[in-house]
C-alpha cells in the first residue's frame, strides 16, 4: 500500500515544464505515415501466433458533439445534425467487418470502451445495432469481470437512455463534469447541473453498472479555490468510484475551440497548484486513493486493486485494469496498440470515409516499436503504474545490464532523486510519495525521443 502523496508547491513549481502524458511510449508525435495498412495487417497476424494470444480491448470513437466545450483538445466535430450519425456508422460497421477477421476468434474482447466526442450522440437504436455488429464480428468475453465502458454527456442523455445501455452489456460509465461553478461553466460553454449529473449516475447504478467515474478539470478560466472546493464537495456527494482530475492544457494554436478562452481568465501557476493540492486533499480525505497522474479511485475499486496486484497499466484512457491486451481502435482518429505497434486512423472524416469506401483499413500513421522502444516503454509503464521498478526482474526480462543500458537516464534520474521524487537503490527504483505528482517527469528521464528533441514545448502540454 502506498502512503498519501505529500504536496509541495515549491518543488512542483520547479518542474513546470512541458512533456508527454505517456498514454503511449513512444508518444503519438513519433507516429509516422510509413506505418500503414500492410504493417497493421502484419502486426495483427503476428499477434495471433503467440502460444496464448493476448485478449482484446476495443475502443470506439464517436467524434460528434452537439455543443463545443471551449477547453476541449479532443478530436471531435461539432454538429446538431443527427443525420450525420448513420453516415458515420455505415463506415464504422465497414471498419469492423474489415478489421475483426484479422484477429482469431478465440481471442475474447475483455474490454470495450466508447469515447468521443460524445458517444451518446448516437441514439438507442444506433447504439444497439453497433453493439450487435461488434458482438457478431468479435468474440465478446462472457467473464463477468469484462469491462464495457462508455463516456456520457449528462446534458444530452436522460435516465432512460442510460438504462437502455445496461442490457447492451455496458457496466461502466464515465461522466464529464469539469466544474460545477456557474461562472466557470459559462466561461467554457458547458452548462451542466448537479441534478443532471446525478440523474445519469443514479440511473447507471440502478441498472446494475458496476463502476461510475467522473472527470474534472483544474486550471479552467474563472476557476477559484472556493468554487472548486464546492465542486469537489458536490462530486464527493455523488459518490463516484473513480475521479479523474485533469490539468487544463491551454494550447490555442493547436485547438481552435480554446481560442474562445481569454488567457486573462486563466488561473495563474500558483492557483493551479493550489487547485491540485485542494483536489488531492479533499479526495484523499473522502477515502479516495491517488493512483497517479490525474486518477483517483476508492480503495475497493478495481483500479486500486489492480495497482496492489501490479496488473495496472497505462493506455489511451489513462489507467486501465486490463493489462496485456491488444487494443483495437475503431473510428476516426482512433489509436490501436497491437503487439509491438501503435497505429492511428485518419484524423478527419473525408479521409476516414475515403479509405473505407475503397475497401482499405483507415490507418493513417503508426509506429513499429524497436527493441529499445519496448524496453523503455516497460520502464515507463512500471514507474507510472506501480511506482516501482525491480531491477533484477527487469534485467532478466529484457536481457540488459540496467546500470549500463540506462547510464544517461540514471544520471538524469539522480537529479530527481535529490528532490526526493524517486529512490535509486541497487535493486530497485521507487517513486516517492512526492514523486507520484511528477510521474511525467520521472518517465521523461527514460524518453529517448525527448532527449533528442530540441524543443518538446511545441508538441506537448505542461507536465503539471
Amino acid at each position: 500500500m502506498q502512503t498519501a502523496a505529500t504536496f509541495d508547491p515549491g518543488l512542483i513549481a520547479r518542474y513546470d515544464v512541458n512533456g508527454p502524458r505517456y498514454t503511449s511510449y513512444p508518444a503519438a508525435p513519433q507516429f509516422h505515415a510509413g506505418f500503414g495498412e500492410p504493417q497493421l495487417r502484419a502486426a495483427a497476424h503476428a499477434s495471433n501466433e503467440d502460444p496464448i494470444p493476448r485478449p482484446l480491448s476495443v475502443y470506439v470513437h464517436v467524434p460528434f458533439c452537439l455543443s463545443p466545450c471551449f477547453y476541449c483538445g479532443c478530436t471531435r466535430i461539432i454538429t446538431r445534425d443527427t443525420g450525420r450519425s448513420p453516415i458515420y456508422l455505415q463506415r464504422l460497421h465497414r471498419e469492423i467487418e474489415l478489421i475483426a477477421p484479422l484477429f482469431d476468434r478465440d481471442r475474447p474482447v475483455v474490454q470495450l470502451h466508447f469515447g468521443g466526442g460524445t458517444p451518446n450522440f448516437l441514439d438507442r437504436a444506433q447504439m444497439a445495432e453497433l453493439l450487435e455488429t461488434l458482438a457478431q464480428h468479435f468474440s465478446f468475453s462472457r467473464d463477468p469481470k469484462r469491462e464495457f465502458g462508455i463516456e456520457l454527456d449528462p446534458r444530452f442523455c436522460d435516465a432512460d437512455y442510460v438504462r437502455a445501455l445496461a442490457p447492451l452489456g455496458f457496466n461502466r460509465v464515465s461522466v464529464g463534469i469539469q466544474d460545477f461553478d456557474p461562472e466557470v461553466q459559462a466561461a467554457v460553454n458547458r452548462i451542466q447541473s448537479v441534478a443532471q449529473t446525478r440523474a445519469v449516475l443514479d440511473a447507471a447504478r440502478e441498472s446494475g453498472f458496476r463502476s461510475t467515474s467522473v472527470d474534472l478539470i483544474y486550471g479552467l478560466p474563472k476557476q477559484t479555490l472556493a468554487g472548486f472546493a464546492r465542486t469537489l464537495d458536490e462530486v464527493i456527494a455523488l459518490e463516484p468510484d473513480r475521479v479523474a482530475a485533469y490539468a487544463y492544457a491551454h494550447l490555442p494554436q493547436r485547438f481552435k475551440a480554446q481560442r474562445q478562452i481569454h488567457a486573462a481568465d486563466l488561473p495563474d501557476a500558483a492557483t493551479r497548484l493550489r487547485l491540485l493540492g485542494l483536489t488531492v486533499e479533499k479526495l484523499t480525505t473522502a477515502g479516495y486513493r491517488y493512483i497517479g497522474m490525474d486518477h483517483f479511485a476508492r480503495a475497493d475499486d478495481e483500479l486500486a486493486r489492480a495497482q496492489d496486484a501490479s496488473t495496472l497499466q497505462r493506455n489511451f484512457q489513462g489507467y486501465s485494469t486490463h493489462g496485456g491486451c491488444d487494443l483495437i481502435g475503431l473510428g476516426m482518429s482512433a489509436i490501436s496498440h497491437i503487439g509491438a505497434s501503435y497505429s492511428q486512423n485518419a484524423h478527419d472524416l473525408p479521409r476516414y470515409y475515403a479509405a473505407l469506401d475503397a475497401g482499405r483499413l483507415p490507418v493513417a500513421r503508426g509506429l513499429a516499436l524497436s527493441e529499445d522502444d519496448g524496453i523503455r516503454a516497460d520502464a515507463i509503464g512500471l514507474l507510472m503504474c506501480q511506482g516501482r521498478l525491480d531491477i533484477a526482474a527487469f534485467e532478466a526480462r529484457h536481457n540488459v545490464d540496467f546500470q549500463l543500458y540506462f547510464d544517461a537516464e540514471l544520471r538524469r534520474l539522480r537529479k530527481l532523486a535529490r528532490d526526493d521524487l524517486v529512490e535509486i537503490a541497487p535493486e530497485s527504483l521507487q517513486v516517492t510519495a512526492r514523486g507520484r505528482y511528477l510521474l511525467r517527469h520521472i518517465a521523461m528521464c527514460f524518453d529517448a525521443y525527448l532527449a533528442r528533441e530540441a524543443a518538446p514545448a511545441v508538441r506537448y502540454s505542461r507536465a503539471l
Partner: protein, 252 residues
C-alpha cells in the same frame, strides 16, 4: 535509438552454436564428436574434400531447401529454428517437425535423392552444409562416422511417428513441451525455459490440433502452475506433472 548500438544490451538468450571456426567444430556438431577421436579436425576434413560450409543468415520464411529439389547435402542448424513441412495437392500444409541448433535436416532425402519436404526458417537461421558425397566417402573410411550417420537416420525415423497415435490434446502438448526441453538440454541450453519461436498455427498443425485448442490447453497448464507463458517465452514449472501427462507418448 535503433541505429545505435546500445551499451548494456547483453547477447541474446536465443541458442546459437556459433563457437566453431576454420579448425574447431561447433560444440553442437553432429559429427565433431566422432571425427575428433579419429584424429580429424575441420582443416583435415577439408583436405579430404569434406566440405563443411557455413550458410546463412536465412530470414523468417526463407527456404533452406525445397520439396523436390535434388539432394546433395545434409544440413545442421547452427542458430535459429527450422520447420520442415509438406504441402499437399490441395495446398494444405503439414508440419513435419521443428529443428533446433545442433539438429540435422535432410536425412530423409538420401533416398530417392530428392528432398521430400520444404525446410523453412522460422526466425534468423544459420546452418552448416555437409556435402553428402563427401560425407559418404568419409563414412566409408571412418567406422564411427558411419555409425553416427546410422544413429541419426534411426532417430529421425522414430521421431516422425511420435504424434501419430491416439492421444489427447493435453498429452500431446505436454509431450511436445518436454520433448523440446529435452532437446535443448541435450545441447547444453537452458533445460526448463525456452522460446516458442514457432507460430501457434504451426504447433497446432504439427500436433494435429486446432490453434484454439493449443492455447486453451496451454492456458489451463498455466492456471494449474505446470508452465508459465509470457509472450513466446515458456517456462516449465512442474516437470513431473507434465511427464505424467506425457508418459504414453514419451515412453523412452
Amino acid at each position: 535509438m535503433t541505429h545505435l548500438h546500445q551499451p548494456g544490451k547483453l547477447p541474446p538468450h536465443n541458442p546459437i552454436a556459433d563457437d566453431g571456426d576454420a579448425v574447431h567444430f561447433c560444440s553442437t556438431c553432429a559429427f565433431g564428436s566422432v571425427c575428433l577421436p579419429a584424429g580429424l579436425n575441420k582443416s583435415a576434413l577439408n583436405d579430404l574434400h569434406m566440405l563443411v560450409e557455413h550458410v546463412g543468415p536465412f530470414h523468417t520464411g526463407d527456404h533452406i531447401f525445397r520439396n523436390g529439389e535434388r539432394f546433395g547435402a545434409l544440413y545442421a542448424v547452427r542458430a535459429g529454428m527450422v520447420k520442415t513441412r509438406q504441402i499437399d495437392d490441395e495446398g494444405h500444409e503439414q508440419v513435419l517437425g521443428f529443428h533446433l541448433p545442433g539438429e540435422m535436416i535432410g536425412l530423409d532425402a538420401i533416398h530417392p535423392a530428392k528432398y521430400p519436404c520444404d525446410a523453412v526458417a522460422l526466425d534468423t537461421v544459420f546452418v552448416c552444409r555437409f556435402s553428402f558425397p563427401a560425407l559418404s566417402t568419409l563414412a566409408a573410411k571412418i567406422p564411427d562416422v558411419q555409425q553416427r550417420l546410422f544413429d541419426l537416420l534411426s532417430a529421425d525415423i522414430g521421431k516422425s511417428s511420435r504424434f501419430s497415435g491416439d492421444h489427447t490434446a493435453d498429452e500431446r502438448l505436454a509431450a511436445f513441451l518436454l520433448d523440446l526441453a529435452g532437446r535443448y538440454a541435450a545441447r547444453g541450453f537452458a533445460p526448463n525455459s525456452y522460446r516458442l519461436v514457432m507460430p501457434r498455427a504451426d504447433i497446432a498443425n504439427y500436433l494435429r490440433l486446432a490453434a484454439e485448442t493449443v492455447s486453451r490447453v496451454l492456458r489451463r497448464f498455466q492456471d494449474q502452475d505446470l508452465i508459465q507463458v509470457v509472450g513466446r517465452e515458456l517456462e516449465l514449472v512442474d516437470k513431473p506433472a507434465l511427464q505424467k501427462l506425457a508418459r504414453h507418448i514419451l515412453r523412452d
